[in-house]
């Protein structure tokens, strides 16, 4: 079976790469193909999600939640069935806003196994709750 593909992007212009790199490695170790595009605008994220024909979009969020919400809206408009998950320094009020849009959210302190489980579920590799 072809490995499932995950796009990972940072919505902000803040280049702290520790978090997304750890997550990308865990996802690759779990058999996913990860396409990292780093700091990207909403337009770049949407274009990459389509061009790269990914099964899941992962957003690393370190800035204002409105910037991230705009990226989520744009991806969902362009690809209504595309699952999205998010991680980063996301305060509780912002987690709720993302969850309301159907995202699974992983703030600091999340376990990699939970993130991998989520990727499996969101790409249809597992049906476990």
């Amino acid at each position: 079976m072809k490995p499932k593909r995950i796009l990972m992007a940072k919505t902000g212009l803040d280049g702290h790469w520790r978090g997304p790199t750890i997550v990308a490695r865990a996802l690759r170790d779990a058999g996913f193909e990860v396409i990292m595009i780093g700091m990207a605008t909403t337009a770049e994220i949407v274009a990459a999600a389509i061009d790269e024909d990914v099964d899941l979009v992962g957003l690393n969020i370190g800035g204002h939640i409105d910037v991230a919400l705009r990226a989520v809206d744009a991806v969902q408009a362009a690809a209504p069935d595309m699952p999205i998950f998010a991680g980063g320094t996301i305060p509780p009020h912002a987690c709720k806003q993302l969850e309301a849009k159907g995202l699974e959210v992983f703030p600091p302190g999340s376990m990699l196994t939970d993130i991998v489980d989520s990727a499996n579920r969101l790409t249809g590799l597992s049906t476990a709750p």
Partner: protein
């Protein structure tokens, strides 16, 4: 972390095996002769001054800033009122680190992010607002400019404001940063001048300060930014000194100023104070010893005053947990203890809300209070180098020195510190350590209270993140238009043309950068010159 069996090996973060207790036999012979050295005597691992904190308390120095320049000004005044003894200007990452104005497409695409991580300062007018009423002449100010390509602009803006207020630059106290670890390792920007151009900028800043601002710390290497990206304490030390020799070799090659003066200028550094108390205290002791050794052996510097490595510490942001954030007050205090036991001169404690947002006013106040309690109530300041002579601490200090020099040599073999940034070798080291540390937590080998144990699901969050102001972008855009409309346009254009000419030559860029700021050239215009002349650094990792 407790081993399953007491006889099992426990490793320090620097991958040094720790015994369950130490005796005099453990102290390496090479270090034994240093045991009876007093603080104030070479090689200074015990501190530079015999009376330590009795004669001079450490500087309470907190990173601060968000929103509009006036928001940052208000927060700095709040901190000074609460007992901070220096002040740090923090600039907005989107604009400052990239040298973009707010009307750049990359910024427009993220307008709500503007002002979230520091104030927006696109011209000297903005810097003047941020510094309004601040004691620039008497207080040790950090002008910002942490990222290499931003430093000349940020420094010139600060100095231009000081000049305009009538302060004598030759007596102005303060520090720049222009840190390679932040710029090229820890917090990589989307656009940045290449490392060789960065080295040239830092050389220019060092030479300019030597001539015109002798009390100013021109550049400040931040081991912190390597460590919080994943480098272990020995790697933090080794890479910091590998970075320092790039600067000093450059200055020596130029031959325009005495190497002693440049070394004095480079001797104000910062480290991360993390949670392993003894290893971190040993790291500060090791750092002083290594600096004094390096200057003697590599540069034949005999002036003992130059050997005085001044250390600023910031507690590890990455050790602050998102869950049960009040626990971070304890972590902040203990990390600060490690720095104080290591005899540092300056300290910033991360906010208890570090994992959620930039600090709220209350989090900032608590960071100051932690330091005041340590300073006033605990007796930590009574005796200089209180850990000196401990079998364990002296052994670990000696082992760290040895291991750090080995890492320094590894970097030299690979062409030096800049080459290791360009190739991504340091990034790979950091990533490997991050992964290892994370897997230890993931496997249950290491615990984080409130995260992997001692959960409290009934009250998962006691606070929400701090939200700054929501008008930073709009006001910045308005002020950008205003400055372009009302400045002497011809003067600004001439200064920018001069800047381009100087960038293409080997002349020092700082005099013309002062001209640019005084002519009210803006950040984005200066950045456009850089992009045209120097191009973009090719990042070794995708981030």
């Amino acid at each position: 972390m407790r081993p399953k069996d007491p006889q099992d090996t426990v490793q320090a973060c620097s991958d040094i095996p720790l015994k369950s207790y130490y005796t005099a036999e453990d102290i390496p012979d090479s270090h034994a002769e240093r045991i009876n050295v007093a603080p104030g005597e070479a090689p200074y691992h015990r501190g530079f001054h015999p009376s330590g904190y009795r004669s001079k308390p450490w500087r309470i120095f907190q990173l601060s800033g968000f929103g509009k320049p006036e928001d940052e000004n208000e927060r700095i005044k709040f901190l000074l009122k609460n007992g901070e003894t220096g002040f740090i200007m923090e600039h907005d990452r989107n604009t400052a680190d990239h040298c973009y104005n707010v009307d750049h497409p990359e910024v427009l695409a993220r307008r709500e992010d503007v002002g979230l991580t520091g104030a927006v300062m696109q011209s000297v007018r903005d810097t003047a607002i941020c510094l309004d009423g601040l004691p620039m002449d008497t207080s040790f100010g950090h002008a910002g400019g942490a990222v290499v390509q931003h430093a000349p602009f940020a420094l010139a803006a600060y100095w231009a404001v000081a000049k305009k207020r009538g302060y004598d630059l030759t007596t102005l106290p303060g520090t720049g940063q222009s840190d390679f670890n932040l710029t090229y390792l820890g917090c990589i920007t989307k656009q940045q001048i290449p490392t060789d151009a960065g080295l040239r900028f830092n050389g220019d800043i060092i030479e300019f300060c030597t001539k015109h601002l002798p009390r100013w710390v021109p550049v400040s290497i931040a081991g912190y930014n390597g460590a919080d990206t994943g480098l272990t304490p020995d790697q933090e030390l080794g890479s910091l000194f590998a970075n320092a020799v790039e600067y000093l070799d450059e200055i020596k090659l130029r031959g325009r100023i005495p190497i002693e003066v440049a070394a004095r200028g480079c001797g104000g550094v910062s480290f991360r104070a993390s949670i392993k108390i003894f290893e971190e205290a040993c790291k500060m002791r090791a750092a002083r010893l290594m600096w004094s050794d390096l200057l003697k052996k590599r540069y034949d510097i005999k002036d003992e005053r130059v050997a005085n490595l001044r250390i600023h510490c910031v507690t590890a942001g990455s050790k602050m947990a998102y869950q049960q954030p009040m626990n971070n007050l304890v972590r902040g205090a203990l990390m600060a203890v490690s720095a104080v036991l290591g005899g540092v001169q300056s300290l910033g404690v991360s906010g208890y809300d570090e994992a959620l947002s930039i600090p709220s006013e209350h989090a900032h106040q608590m960071s100051v209070r932690i330091q005041q309690i340590l300073m006033e109530e605990t007796g930590l300041t009574d005796v200089t180098d209180p850990l000196g002579g401990s079998y364990y601490v002296e052994t670990l200090t000696a082992q760290l020195v040895e291991k750090s020099w080995a890492f320094f040599e590894e970097i030299q073999i690979r062409g030096g510190y800049l080459a290791c940034l360009d190739s991504g070798w340091l990034h790979a080291k950091a990533e490997e350590n991050q992964h290892k540390e994370f897997m230890q937590t993931e496997s249950g080998e290491a615990n984080i209270v409130g995260v992997t144990m001692a959960h409290d699901d009934s009250s998962p969050f006691e606070i929400d993140g701090f939200i700054g102001t929501d008008d930073a972008f709009d006001v910045a855009l308005e002020r950008l238009k205003e400055v372009k409309r009302t400045r002497h346009e011809k003067g600004a254009m001439t200064a920018l043309k001069d800047l381009e000419r100087v960038c293409r030559s080997s002349d020092n860029i700082m005099p013309v950068m002062m001209d640019c700021l005084e002519a009210e050239a803006t950040l984005g215009e200066v950045g456009d010159v850089y992009r045209e002349v120097f191009g973009d650094w090719r990042t070794p990792i995708q981030c």
